[in-house]
Symmetry: C2
Subunit: 207 residues, 2 copies
């Protein structure tokens, strides 16, 4: 079984790269599919699960999503419980034995026993702002400054969750096999090259 | 003109990757060739120039190479002078207009106006120790601990020289287009994949 994990800075195009890689290689693809599975297992609403997972690690960033959490402590417990359930879902996907690409969720750590190929995707702030503005909904307009703040907060939360799980530092170069900087470059154009790199790495391991 | 710069952690196999990339792509290759040109321009001994460049940035690491430097201040001045001359040599190579790969020497910063493709090569300490032991001379035996200390000192000196030149942080992910982790993998196997990535990047810029 071959597994590719994609970790990424918010707005770097990591999700697009992961999806295109899966298409290119004929692998299964998991991203929001994990939330769907998790919500189903727990009998919870998908939107709720997604927001709870995000909010739980966004320290100091107020997020409102109903009255489900009555206190910070309860929120933290729910967040941890959801992280554990998410880990189980990811492990159950791997147990199926099919090749797949998975985006985010510290899957590189969770699946380390399977020796996945781990990619980190980054970009300079200008590129990330451009990408975020392109994909933002009409009803969700941020100023450049607000968007930059949002990007930094989400990346901080990702680093924080990783720290909570005891893994190597989020984004540090030796924690991944390949770190791809997408600044000023088409993800579509880069995809076959990353796929080729993965294949070369897979063949060249332990030589 | 196409330029690829290779920055690297000591022992990561960056030099081998650079040489193989140049062979693969049919590009010129520059590494110690720069020292030869620099020494020729200044009418100095090659070994002297190489050691002076290394020693000047190795703070706190005693290195002995003759009586040419009478004081720390003189040494620092000579080091800076040699860095400036090295910059001129690198600029003169680029001015020839031929495609080339260049290893080290902060060439990514020096040649930034040519928009080179910048690679950073890293590896975990175990892989670096293994590679250093493989290539060390019979007369140059270090214990594992001494070798690890040497690796850290050389990388520190590289980061220091970069800081002196005012560039983005040495080894930081967004300072390079691609960060390659060679841990446990054959450089020979990875080379065509990195070459393919460079070609895809070159075609995909600005799309």
């Amino acid at each position: 079984m071959k597994i590719i994990t994609v970790s990424r800075e918010f707005g770097s195009g990591g999700r697009e790269l992961g999806k295109r890689l899966a298409d290119n290689l004929g692998f299964d693809y998991y991203d929001s599919e994990i939330i769907t599975l998790l919500a189903k297992n727990k009998g919870m609403d998908e939107n709720y699960v997604e927001k709870a997972l995000t909010a739980g690690s966004l320290r100091g960033i107020p997020l409102h999503f109903g009255r489900s959490f009555s206190s910070g402590v309860a929120q933290q417990q729910s967040h941890t419980g959801l992280l554990i359930e998410q880990k189980r879902v990811i492990e159950s996907i791997a147990a199926q034995g099919r090749d797949f690409v998975i985006v985010g969720r510290n899957a590189d750590m969770i699946l380390s026993e399977y020796c996945p190929f781990n990619i980190f995707v980054c970009a300079d702030m200008e590129s990330k702002l451009g990408r975020c503005q392109e994909r933002s909904d009409e009803g969700e307009k941020y100023s450049k400054r607000e968007m930059e703040k949002k990007i930094r907060a989400i990346d901080k939360s990702r680093a924080h969750t990783r720290e909570l799980m005891g893994g190597p530092q989020w984004g540090s170069r030796t924690a991944y096999h390949l770190t791809v900087n997408t600044s000023g470059c088409s993800i579509k154009a880069l995809t076959p090259a990353v796929a080729a790199y993965f294949c070369a790495w897979y063949e060249g391991r332990g030589i």
